[in-house]
C-alpha cells in the first residue's frame, strides 16, 4: 500500500476547479480543512451531509474528496490495528500468565479472539479450547468461545465442524449475533440470513460494544457499509467490551477492562469499503476520473485485489496530463503489485532504480513504504534512501523520514525506526495530529513501546484519543504492561 497522498494533492483538485458552485464550496473547503488537520470523521460527516445538495459536477468532486478521506481513515485504523496487535496481545498474554490469586478468567477469551482476528488461528484455537465450563467464565461468554472455535475450524477448512460448533453455541441474542457475524466473516450462507439476525436487534436499545462490532461485521459482509457506518457512529468507540470485576474480601475490588481487538481492523475494512464506493462513483465523472483512478489503484492494492489495482494503475499512467510525481508514485505502486504477485526481483529493481534517481521526497517515501508493506529487503533501494536521508532535511522530508522509520519498524530495528520518525516529527507540536500524521505517531508509539519507553507511547495516544476514541484499547493495554514492567525507586521532587 503505497498510500497517503499528501493533503496537497487533494487541495490541488479543489483549487483546480474553482469555477464550480460557490455555496457548496463551503462544505468542501471546510471538509478539506478538517482533512488537512486529520479530523477525518468531521470532514467525512460534513461531506456526507452536503452530498445530496450538490449538483452533479460538484458531487463528483465531493465524492473524490470523501473517498480520499475514508481511505486515509482506513489506513490509520489499520495502523492502529497493527500497534494494537503488539500491545494488546502482550497485555492479554501477561494477564493469562499471571499466576497470582485473582487471576483474570476472561483474558483467555479476549486473547483467543484477538489472535483469531489477526489470523493466528492455531493459537486462537488453543486458547478457545482452554475455555472449559470450569474456567470460571459465564455461560454467555463460553458460548462465544464456541463460536470462536467454529471460526477457527472454518479457517482450517473444516466446514462441517465449524457449522456444528456454531450451532451448538446456543441461541441467546448475543450468541446468535456472534454466530451471524462469524458466518458473515466466513462467507457461510447468504447475506439475507445474516441480515435477518442483524435487523432483529432492537434499534431502540443502546448497543453493547460487542454487539455493535458484530453488526458492523455483518453489514460489511452483506455489502451495506452505510449501515455499518451508522452502527459504528451510534456508540462510543472507547467503551470496553467487558469489564471483569473481582470480589474483594475487603478494600478495593479489582476490575479489568477488555476490548474487542477486532474492532480496529473492522473499522479499517469499513472505511476502505466506503472509500471504494465513493471513489468508484467519483470515477464515473469524466473530469474526476483520472484522480479517482489514482486512488482506486491505491485502494485495490490495499484490498489485495491486484488485478483491479493493476487496471487502475494502467489507466492512470495512460493519462497524458498526469503529473510526473504521481506517475512515479504510481510506478512504485505497480512494483508493489508485482512484488505481491511474485515478481519480486522485478519489483525490487524498480524500487531500486526510482530510489537511486532521488528527487521528490514524496516518491521516495512511497518506495520506503512499499518496501515496508511488502516486507521486502529492498537492499538497493534502502541504501539509496538512507543516503538521501543523511543529506536532506527540513519539513519537506517529514513524510520521507516517517516512511523510512516505518521500514525499520517492520524490520524490528526500533532504534533506527525512532531516529527517522523523530526526525520527521514536528517537535513544536509533537503529539498533535494537525502537525504530525497520526499514522506516523501510531508507528512511533509502537517503536517506543517496543523499547519500553511506555510513557512516550502513552503520551502519543493520549492526544490522539481526543480525535480517535478507538485507540482507547491500545492505551489501556499499554498502561497495563507498563504497570507490570515498571521498576522505579519512587522518587518525586518539587521543581
Amino acid at each position: 500500500m503505497t498510500r497517503r497522498a499528501t493533503p496537497a494533492l487533494l487541495l490541488a483538485l479543489m483549487v483546480s476547479s474553482t469555477a464550480l458552485v460557490r455555496a457548496a464550496d463551503d462544505a468542501l473547503a471546510t471538509a478539506t480543512k478538517f482533512y488537512d488537520k486529520r479530523r477525518y470523521e468531521q470532514a467525512a460527516r460534513l461531506l456526507e451531509a452536503a452530498l445530496p445538495r450538490l449538483d452533479e459536477a460538484k458531487r463528483a468532486q465531493a465524492l473524490l474528496v470523501l473517498g480520499t478521506i475514508y481511505l486515509r481513515d482506513a489506513d490509520l485504523h489499520q495502523a492502529f490495528a497493527r500497534t494494537a496487535a503488539v500491545v494488546e496481545l502482550d497485555y492479554l498474554d501477561k494477564l493469562v500468565k499471571t499466576g497470582i490469586e485473582g487471576r483474570s478468567r476472561y483474558a483467555r477469551l479476549y486473547l483467543a479472539e484477538a489472535l483469531l482476528a489477526r489470523g493466528d488461528t492455531a493459537d486462537a484455537g488453543r486458547y478457545f479450547d482452554q475455555l472449559r465450563p470450569d474456567a470460571g467464565v459465564d455461560t454467555g461468554h463460553l458460548a462465544l468461545a464456541q463460536v470462536g472455535l467454529g471460526s477457527v475450524a472454518w479457517s482450517r477448512k473444516q466446514t462441517d465442524r465449524a457449522r456444528a460448533l456454531w450451532s451448538v453455541a446456543g441461541n441467546a441474542p448475543n450468541v446468535a449475533l456472534a454466530r451471524a457475524a462469524a458466518q458473515a466473516n466466513a462467507g457461510d450462507g447468504d447475506a439475507k440470513t445474516w441480515l435477518r439476525v442483524a435487523d432483529g436487534v432492537n434499534p431502540e436499545r443502546e448497543l453493547a460494544p460487542r454487539a455493535r462490532r458484530y453488526l458492523l461485521e455483518i453489514y460489511l459482509a452483506a455489502g451495506a457499509p452505510e449501515k455499518a457506518l451508522a452502527t459504528v457512529r451510534s456508540g462510543d468507540l472507547a467503551a470496553a467490551s467487558y469489564t471483569e470485576t473481582f470480589r474483594a474480601a475487603k478494600g478495593t475490588a479489582k476490575s479489568i477492562s477488555f476490548y474487542d481487538y477486532a474492532l480496529l481492523s473492522d473499522l479499517a475494512r469499513l472505511y476502505r469499503e466506503l472509500a471504494r464506493g465513493s471513489l468508484e462513483r467519483a470515477a464515473s465523472d469524466e473530469r474526476m476520473r483520472p484522480s479517482a483512478q489514482y486512488y482506486l489503484a491505491e485502494l485495490y492494492t490495499g484490498l489485495g485485489r491486484y488485478e483491479e489495482a493493476r487496471k487502475y494503475v494502467q489507466a492512470f499512467l495512460d493519462q497524458p496530463q498526469a503529473p510526473a510525481q504521481y506517475r512515479e508514485r504510481t510506478r512504485v505502486r505497480e512494483a508493489l503489485i508485482n512484488y505481491r504477485q511474485g515478481k519480486r526481483v522485478e519489483a525490487e529493481n524498480a524500487w531500486g532504480t526510482i530510489a537511486e534517481k532521488g528527487g521528490d521526497p514524496e516518491v521516495l517515501a512511497d518506495v520506503a513504504l512499499a518496501c515496508a508493506d511488502a516486507g521486502a529487503e529492498c537492499a538497493k533501494a534502502i541504501a539509496s534512501l538512507v543516503k538521501t536521508a543523511e543529506a536532506a532535511d527540513g519539513r519537506r522530508f517529514a513524510r520521507f523520514n516517517f516512511a523510512l522509520g516505518t521500514y525499520y519498524l517492520r524490520k524490528k530495528d526500533y532504534a533506527r525506526a525512532i531516529t527517522y520518525m523523530e526526525t520527521g516529527r514536528d517537535k513544536s507540536n509533537k503529539n498533535k495530529i494537525e502537525a504530525n500524521d497520526p499514522e506516523m505517531l501510531a508507528g512511533l508509539a509502537e517503536a517506543y513501546y517496543r523499547i519500553r519507553k511506555f510513557s512516550e507511547g502513552l503520551e502519543i495516544f493520549f492526544e490522539m484519543s481526543k480525535e480517535f476514541p478507538a485507540v482507547r484499547q491500545i492505551q489501556e493495554a499499554m498502561q497495563g504492561v507498563y504497570s507490570m514492567e515498571q521498576r522505579s525507586a519512587g522518587d518525586v521532587k518539587i521543581l
Partner: protein
C-alpha cells in the same frame, strides 16, 4: 519564495489594561507617559513580539506567532499594516495545472531582520524550510535574494547604516566568526579568527566599527572591531572580567556602548544589569572600575536585542525584574544614574525598542496574549 500578504482583519480593540493594583513602591512614583497605546487592536489567540523600528521611524517590524505559524508583520506607527511576510518554498517542479497544489506551506523559520539605512529593504535569516540557515535580502520590489549559502549556520546579520555592508556571524570556520558582506562588491570577508567564538555584531552608527560579543559559556566579553583600518588592528576589549556581558548596543551618537552584564555583588549568574562604557575603550574593562559603570540593576535582558537607547544618547529604556509589578518599564538617565519608572500600566513587558523620534515600542501581556504597545515620554524641559 516570499509572499506578501495585505493586512489582515483584526478583532475589535479592547480597552487598555488598567494600571496594576500592585504597583512599585511609592518612592518610585514614576512618570506618566504622553501616551501608551497598542500598535494594532488588541486581540486574543496570537502573540506579537520583537518590535523593531525602521531607521527613520516610519515603519515598525514585529513578529507574530499564531500556533505554529511565525510571520513578520510590517506596520506604520499608526498601526496600519503594510505587509505580512512569511516564507514559502517553491512548489515541487513537474506539477501542471491539473494537479497543481498552489498550497502555501509555511514551514520555514525566519528571524533576525535588520533594516537597510533607508528602510526600504532588509536582511534576515531563514532556513527556507530546508534545514540550513542562511541570509536573505528582501529587495524594495518584494523580491528575495539569497545572500549566503553555506552548510554551517549564517545569522545575526546587521546592516550598516552608512552603506551596502552587512556584518553577520557564520559557523563556517568551525566556530562563530564575524564576516563582512559587501553588497556592492559582492564579497565576503572574515573579520575575526582565533580560538574564541563571536556572536551578535552591531555596526556603530558611523559605520566604521563593530561591537560584538566574544567568549564562551557564561563568560562573554564585549569587543570592538575596526574593519577598515590599515594596517589591521586587533579587536579591542571593552570588558574582560569573568562575567557574562551580552548584546552591546551603540548609543545613537556612537560615543557609548550599553550592554547587559551578570555582574552583581552577590555573584548570582542569573541576575542582570546594564553597563554603559565609552565606545573608544577608555573605560576600565574589569573590576570595580567597570562595576562602577553599571547604570541599572535587576534588569530583565531582552532575548533578541540589547538595551534600548533613546535618541538623545543619554537615556536607556529597559525592563526591570520587579516581580510584584510583573516586569515594569524603567528609564535610566545614564549620566545622572536616575532610574524612573514609566507608568505604562502594562505587565510582563519585554522587547523594548526606541525609534529615532523617541517612540518606545515594546510587548506586554494583556489577558493571556502578548501585544505590541507604543509609548512616548513627555518632553521634559
Amino acid at each position: 519564495m516570499l509572499l506578501l500578504r495585505r493586512s489582515m482583519i483584526l478583532l475589535a480593540a479592547l480597552a487598555l489594561p488598567v494600571a496594576a493594583d500592585d504597583e512599585p513602591a511609592p518612592e518610585a512614583a514614576g512618570i506618566e507617559p504622553e501616551f501608551v497605546r497598542p500598535l494594532v487592536p488588541i486581540a486574543a489567540g496570537r502573540n506579537d513580539s520583537n518590535p523593531l523600528w525602521s531607521p527613520d521611524g516610519a515603519l515598525i517590524a514585529f513578529e507574530r506567532s499564531r500556533g505554529d505559524d511565525k510571520e513578520i508583520v510590517i506596520a506604520r506607527a499608526n498601526g496600519d499594516i503594510v505587509q505580512t511576510i512569511y516564507q514559502q518554498r517553491n512548489a515541487a517542479p513537474g506539477k501542471n495545472s491539473f494537479f497543481f497544489p498552489g498550497v502555501v506551506e509555511k514551514s520555514s523559520y525566519n528571524a533576525g531582520i535588520s533594516w537597510s539605512p533607508r528602510g526600504e529593504r532588509f536582511v534576515y535569516m531563514s532556513n527556507a524550510g530546508e534545514g540550513n540557515y542562511d541570509l536573505y535580502l528582501r529587495e524594495a520590489d518584494g523580491s528575495t535574494v539569497r545572500l549566503t549559502d553555506h552548510k554551517e549556520k549564517d545569522g545575526h546579520a546587521h546592516w550598516s547604516q552608512t552603506g551596502e555592508r552587512i556584518v553577520f556571524i557564520s559557523g563556517r570556520s568551525g566556530k562563530g566568526d564575524v564576516y563582512l558582506l559587501d553588497l556592492v562588491a559582492k564579497t565576503t570577508t572574515a573579520l575575526t579568527g582565533g580560538e574564541q567564538p563571536y556572536l551578535y555584531p552591531q555596526w556603530s552608527p558611523d559605520g566604521t566599527r563593530i561591537a560584538v560579543i566574544r567568549g564562551t559559556n557564561e563568560n562573554h566579553d564585549i569587543y570592538v572591531l575596526e574593519p577598515g583600518r590599515n594596517p589591521p588592528v586587533p579587536p579591542r576589549a571593552l570588558s574582560t572580567w569573568r562575567y557574562d556581558d551580552l548584546r552591546p548596543v551603540w548609543s545613537p551618537d556612537g560615543k557609548r556602548i550599553a550592554f547587559y552584564t551578570n555582574y552583581n555583588p552577590a555573584g548570582d549568574p542569573k541576575t542582570w544589569a546594564i553597563a554603559v562604557v565609552a565606545a573608544d575603550g577608555s573605560d576600565p574593562t574589569e573590576g570595580e572600575g567597570l562595576a562602577a559603570r553599571l547604570v541599572a540593576t535587576d534588569v530583565i535582558p531582552d532575548v533578541e536585542r540589547g538595551p534600548a537607547w533613546m535618541p538623545d544618547s543619554r537615556r536607556i529604556v529597559y525592563v526591570r525584574n520587579e516581580k510584584q509589578a510583573f516586569n515594569p518599564i524603567y528609564v535610566v538617565d545614564v549620566d545622572q544614574r536616575s532610574n524612573i519608572w514609566l507608568r505604562t500600566g502594562t505587565k510582563i513587558n519585554h522587547d523594548v525598542n526606541c525609534s529615532r523620534t523617541g517612540v518606545i515600542a515594546f510587548r506586554a501581556q494583556v489577558d493571556q496574549w502578548d501585544q505590541i504597545f507604543l509609548a512616548k515620554l513627555k518632553e521634559t524641559p
